[in-house]
């Protein structure tokens, strides 16, 4: 069992044995969708047929191409300002992915760092970090994010910071727990006996061993963060218009729902859903894959 565990950890650490990742229940579709979204986000400038922020008032509320009145110029129709929905969705993917990934990484670095300090040092550091975490978790993340956004004002950069601050506590909790058990492992005790300083031990022995969990948690958090970003944008405290964030498109489109302009809400809604679903499927799989205890069931 010990051997199996170390084999997994080593494999994941080096990422050299990617071949073994392609086995049992690998969420190929979810990963492909995420891959496509990332590709689209990277090459948005090339792929988008129109400028996402400039509308033509003569072309307002055009339906998608397959409906009556649709035009091949605007494959997925246009919005209330005559902006191309497809182009906006493509650039929206860029915003969602950039904001999502940076926020997850920011929260991850903050939470993992504090979690390791808290778990390894114990004592008053642990008390302070964990009580702050408890208090933080008592606040509803979305309310907290709205409050922060109202204070600092809307911008993509601020959203990343806000989301990071709203979600670091989850990492801190999980990582602290891992560190507590790692601390009792003999290789950490051996490092202490060998005279390594606490900093060396945290850097060389603890951090690499919790990275797996941090990565899994990050993948699962990606979905949550994307939804929160969309919600903030929807509520008008997220990415400021006229930037084409999916949440913002939902907000703009909701007035047209009853008038039959369904594509303005359904399409960005689907994009959010598909992205979150893919991230969660991948995260679930990674969690099982990297957790030897679950894997052996």
């Amino acid at each position: 069992m010990n051997g199996g565990r170390s084999a997994t950890l080593t494999g994941a650490w080096r990422f050299a044995s990617l071949a073994s990742f392609r086995t049992e229940g690998f969420p190929l579709i979810a990963t492909s969708i995420l891959g496509v979204l990332i590709f689209v986000a990277v090459f948005a400038d090339v792929l988008a047929p129109h400028d996402p922020e400039v509308g033509r008032l003569g072309e307002r509320f055009r339906p998608p191409v397959w409906q009556q009145g649709g035009s091949e110029k605007f494959l997925l129709g246009t919005d209330h300002l005559g902006r191309d929905v497809l182009s906006r969705l493509i650039f929206g993917a860029r915003i969602s992915i950039v904001v999502g990934f940076t926020a997850v990484i920011f929260a991850g670095v903050l939470g993992t760092g504090l979690g390791i300090l808290s778990g390894f040092l114990g004592g008053w550091v642990d008390q302070v970090v964990m009580r702050v975490t408890d208090a933080w978790l008592a606040l509803p993340a979305l309310t907290f994010a709205i409050f922060l956004a109202a204070v600092v004002g809307p911008s993509a950069m601020n959203i990343v910071i806000i989301l990071g601050l709203a979600y670091w506590t989850r990492y801190a909790r999980v990582i602290r727990g891992e560190v507590l058990s790692l601390k009792e492992r003999d290789f950490v005790r051996l490092a202490i006996v060998a005279g390594c300083s606490k900093r060396t031990i945290m850097k060389r022995h603890i951090l690499p061993n919790v990275l797996n969990s941090a990565i899994v948690l990050g993948t699962l958090m990606l979905g949550v963060v994307v939804v929160t970003e969309a919600a903030l944008s929807f509520l008008g405290v997220g990415v400021p218009p006229p930037k084409p964030a999916w949440g913002l498109m939902l907000a703009d489109g909701k007035k047209g729902m009853m008038a039959g302009y369904w594509w303005l809400t359904v399409l960005p809604g689907c994009c959010i859903m598909v992205m979150v679903l893919s991230a969660n499927l991948l995260g679930d799989w990674l969690r099982v894959k990297l957790d030897p205890q679950l894997r052996q069931l």
Partner: protein, 334 residues
Amino acid sequence: MTAPPLLELRTLSTHYVSARGTRVVRAVDDVSLSLEAGSTLGIVGESGSGKTTLALTILRLLPPAARIMSGEILFEGEDLRTKSDVEMRRIRGRRIAMILQDPMASLNPLFTIGDQVAEPLRVHEGAGRGGAWSRAKELLKAVRISAPEARVREYPHQMSGGMRQRIVGAIAISCSPRLLIADEPTTSLDLTIQAQYLNLLRDLQRQYELALIFITHNLGIVAKMCDQVAVMYAGRLVEWGPVTHIFDAPAHPYTRALLESIPRMGDSRQRLTAIEGQPPDLAAPPPGCAFHPRCPQAMAQCREEAPPETALAPRHTVRCWLSVPVPAQSAPVR
């Protein structure tokens, strides 16, 4: 014998104190012994008799609840109790190394063997990566790992149990320490590997002039490996002296009982001799000698007063009323 001993413990006591100070466990109580450079001391005793706490006391790596109450830990003539944390860190791994109870789990699964053997060198001697690695290869050769060139690049899970253990040994000797403390290093190994490992340790000891402290409950290992043996019972050193003396003529009833409980080949006894009763609760030890409830030779005096440490020979002490020279009036038996 003219040079001062490498390690000398003088009336050392370590107690575990509960948060409110209401419960005090005397895990190590008034222990005195000394160890010459290059010699081997075996510490034996039942589980919970304070063997590991004694080792951790020497390294000053006690858990927060434990406190060194009194005594001195003289290592190379300096009292380790007066050292700062930073100074202790320089001593650990460099002057005093330790092998833990389960060397199988002592390796970090995420790093190569080379990195782990090189770690103390880099921490203590500021060696560069390249230099530390080539030294690591030599160390692996010293602990008889075949093909060290290839092995340094491998990970712990690619090694067998015996190899991992030898690697832990290599890490322990990497900075050429003067003293190596081995806390039950062979309990997790099967017998043939145990013998190999013990031979290896002995060879390393000769080669590097290491002093060894061997914590074990296996008296066979003590007989094979050690020059001196210290028998602990309920936190106290009940008998300490040369292995040859103690195995031939144990002075303390507990030592005698321990020796009698070893099964031997061709033993005609139907049952193994066990020591009756349980080891005492260290938070509430019996009055007098802690061993008296289980001692076949207990006397009235044993229940009232703890026996003093008595020297039987220059380096052989025992804590038992039976060995105390009897004063004028004869002690009542039983």
